[in-house]
Symmetry: C2
Subunit: 190 residues, 2 copies
């Protein structure tokens, strides 16, 4: 497998971590978002949406969207719950991550770290709301779907662990901080 990814992107790191966890061999092809490498004709042939991560599977077929890629790579593994309801909750959190978490927490980080501007206050409010919901959830459960590590956690931790770079203070979220440590240990990162 070839993984086209930008090392600064949590979405791309999800794919790397999942492949590493599963012991899947891959070639990492650094593809920069900031220098236009996701907009070249060569890359658009891999992913016409012009977004990383994208992969070329061993049979030569392309696949895009971080959460779709990790769901495909992890099929049949212990990263996806066997129980249909737990699996549905896993996807619920993964869709929530892309709709309500990443567009706030990753976007704030991108603004501050890579564009050198203060994020829109509305973005910060949305990010705090996302962190509050995660904290509340982690008061009654250790993992986001089922009773062990799943792709929901992998997906959510990617930008949560670097939320401080976007200006979010994780001090009021002890549950989230503990869960990040647990994840970093489980995935061998950080």
């Amino acid at each position: 497998m070839k993984i086209f990814g930008d090392s600064i992107s949590g979405n791309c790191l999800k794919v790397k971590w999942t492949a590493d966890y599963l012991g899947l061999p891959y070639e990492w092809i650094e593809t920069g978002v900031l220098n236009g490498e996701t907009r070249t004709l060569q890359f658009l042939a891999v992913n016409p949406a012009g977004q990383v991560p994208a992969v070329i599977l061993d049979d030569g077929r392309p696949l895009a969207q971080s959460n779709a890629i990790i769901a495909h790579l992890a099929e049949g593994s212990d990263l996806i719950p066997d129980d249909p309801y737990d699996r549905a909750k896993m996807f619920e959190w993964m869709f929530w991550e892309q709709y309500s978490h990443e567009p706030a927490i990753a976007v704030a980080r991108f603004a501050r770290v890579y564009r050198g501007v203060e994020p829109d206050p509305k973005i910060m409010e949305r990010g705090e709301a996302a962190l509050r919901l995660m904290e509340k959830t982690l008061h009654t459960q250790a993992w986001f779907a089922g009773d062990r590590l799943s792709l929901a956690d992998v997906s959510l931790v990617a930008y949560t662990r670097v939320a401080h770079e976007g200006g979010f203070n994780l001090a009021p979220y002890p549950g989230v901080r503990g869960w990040i440590s647990l994840l970093e240990s489980a995935l061998g990162i950080g």
Copy 2:
């Protein structure tokens, strides 16, 4: 099953259409986004994220996120491809829908129709880019994942068929228009 949904929301209609297509019985509980019904304590007990659609399954357990709900309801049905790659492509489009399509095309419609304001030009640009990618894709295939109707189509059609309400002109996208007709016929809507 109880479906908590707002009839003006394409995300909610996805769930209704999928249940109808599969012949699943349900009670529709109209839950208004505009009048604060998604922010009541009663509703937050169903979905702490305060978003519709949400469902209470027959066993009493809740589930949220439109695309996670339809994936759960349709498990084992012909709306989800058997082939692992086609299934992965289905999820690719469903994640793309929530990240790159809905936040432009649904948000533009919401601004114009329900808030009476002109959408941000950047939102309109993002929406046109989404429509261009759909059109390009439909030049070489009839459906978004595999060789028949799947949840990728159900998910994408929800806001594409009302894109004109947000100010998008579908005339330059004949492939998209044909596909919408095909979908409306397959789902018995419109």
